[in-house]
C-alpha cells in the first residue's frame, strides 16, 4: 500500500494508508468476480465507436500563447515553469 501511494504520488499518512488498504481489499475482492467470466473467445476493447486512425491535414492553426498557457501556474520565471529541484 505504501508503494502504491508512492507510485501515485498520493503522499498519504499512515492512518490514511491503513483505511485505504481495508477499502481497496474490499473493492479488489468484489472486482475479482471478473475471474469467473469466460473470456476465451474475445479480444479486449479499449475504445468503442469503431474509429481507427483519425487523420487530418497537418496545417498550422492558432493556439494558446505561452502567456495564456502559463497563466494558471503557481510559480513561473522568465516564461518558464519553476519547480523545486529533482533530487
Amino acid at each position: 500500500m505504501a508503494k502504491l501511494s508512492r507510485l501515485a504520488r498520493l503522499g498519504l499518512t499512515p492512518d490514511e494508508l491503513a483505511e485505504l488498504e481495508t477499502q481497496l481489499a474490499d473493492i479488489i475482492g468484489a472486482v475479482s468476480k471478473l475471474s469467473q467470466a469466460d473470456i476465451s473467445q474475445v479480444d479486449p476493447t479499449s475504445q468503442v465507436g469503431g474509429l481507427t486512425n483519425a487523420m487530418r491535414q497537418d496545417e498550422v492553426a492558432p493556439g494558446l500563447s505561452a502567456e495564456e498557457a502559463l497563466a494558471n501556474a503557481p510559480t513561473t520565471e522568465a516564461g518558464l515553469l519553476r519547480v523545486p529541484a529533482i533530487q
Binding site: 498520493l10 471478473l34 467470466a37 473470456i39 474475445v42 479480444d43 495564456e68 494558471n72 533530487q87
Partner: protein, 490 residues
Amino acid sequence: MSLLQEPIAELARRLRRREVSAGELAQASFDAIGSADERLGAFLRTTRESAAAQAEAADRRLRDDPDGAGPLCGIPVAYKDVLCTKGVETTAASRILAGFVPPYSATPVRRLEEAGAVGVGKLNCDEFAMGSSNENSAYQQTRNPFDLGRVPGGSSGGSAVAVAARFACATLGSDTGGSIRLPASFCGVVGVKPSYGRVSRYGLIAFASSLDQVGPLTKTVEDAALVLQVIAGRDDHDSTTTPAPVGDLRELLHAGVAGMRLGVPQQYLEMQLDPGVRAVFEQAAAGLEEAGATLVPVSLPSTEYALAAYYVIAPAEVSSNLARMDGVRFGPGFAAARDLTEAYEEARHRGFGPEVRRRIALGTYVLSSGYYDAYYLRAQKVRTLVAQDFERVFQEVDALISPTAPTAAFPLGERVGDPLAMYATDILTLPANLAGISGISVPAGFAEGLPVGLQVLGPYLGEATCFRVAAAVEEQADVWRVLPEPEGPG
C-alpha cells in the same frame, strides 16, 4: 409561475414575439437562484456579468435576425464544473483546481454560446465527476429539491437540481457510468448520455476518457433533443468524435411507439429493485404496450460482470488521466516542498479528496505489473462481452427499457462510508458506457414522493430512437410539470 417552467420551444416563440427578452429570462434565472440555491447548493458560482452581455447579444440577434437565430438563442443554461469555461473559474469540484481559470471553453459550451444560449453559472458535482451522490464535492453539498435530506444523485447533481428547481432551462453534465442519467432520475428531469463520440470531449476535464460523454439535462425530451442537436457532431479538437452526420434528432419525437419492439433486460429486473421503483417502471412499460409497442424479454448475460469491469477500467483511466494534476501548471502550488517528488505529493495530498485518492490507488494497482493481466486486460475483454450482448439484442429490438436506478434518491450519508454500496448505485446505467451506446432517463412517476426515472437505451448513434420512446413515456406519465416542494431540514 416562473417563466423558466416553460419548455424551450415555447420560450423561443415568446422571445420572437417580443413577449419576453433574453435579459428578462436571465433575470428570472438569477432571481430563482437567489431565492432558493442557498438551500439547494446547485451552483458553485454564478456569472452575472457575462450573462448580461450574452443576453444583450441574444436580444440583438433576435431583433435583427429572428429566423437565423436558433431555438436556444436567449435561453438560460448552466454548465457542470468539469466543463472548461473561458475566463470563468473551473474546479471540477476539487481543491487541486481551486483558482483555475481556463484559457479556452469546452466545445459543447462554445457551441451553446454560439447558438446564443446565456450561461448563468457553474454547477456543483462530485470531485472530478467521481461519485453517485454529490457528497464527494470538495466545496458543498447539493441537496435533492424533492427532499432536502436526500442526495440529488451524482455526479452531475448540480446540473439536475438546477433544472428541477427551474434555475436554468437546460444544463450540461457528463456521464461516465451514469452521472447524467442517475441524478436526472433522482431529481425528476430528463438526462441524456449520448453515444460515445457523438459529443466532443474537448475541454471536458477527463475522468475516464473511453467512457466519458457530455450530454444535456432538461425538463422535457424535446428540450433535450434541441440542446443535443447543437452540441453534437464532429470536432477537430477531439479525434474520437464520429464523422457520422447527426441528423434531425427531433425527427421521430412524435412518431409514437406503435409497432416498435422494446426489449426488457431480464437481468436488470432480477436485481434488487425498490418496490416503488418497480411499480413505476411496470406501469410505464404497460403504458408503452397499450400505445402499441411490443415488449420483448431479452437477456444480457454479461450484466453480472459489468460493475466489476467498470470499476477496473474507470479507475485505471483515472490513475493515468489525473497524473497531470501535479500542482505545477495549475492549482494552489507547493510552498514547503524540498524536491519535486515531495512537491507532487504535497499538492496531490492537499488537493484530492478520499474518493479520488481511492480511485487513483485502485487504478495504479490494476495497471501495475503482475496484476495487469488479471484485472485490466480481463476487464477489457469483459467489456467486449458487454458490448456484444447489446449488439445481439439490438438485432431483435429497437430499444431497451428499464428503471434508471434500483432506488429513488437515498438519504444523505447513507452510502458515504461504504464505497461498494455507492458503486452499485450505477449498476443499471454503466453497461451503456462500457458499450458506448445511447441512453436517456425520463421522469416516469413518483415513489413515496420521490421522482423515478425510466431508462431507454438505444443502439450506437440511436439517439433519435431514444427520444422517440422517451417522448411516449413522458406523454403518458405526464409528470414533468410537477415542481418540487422540498421538505426536511433546510
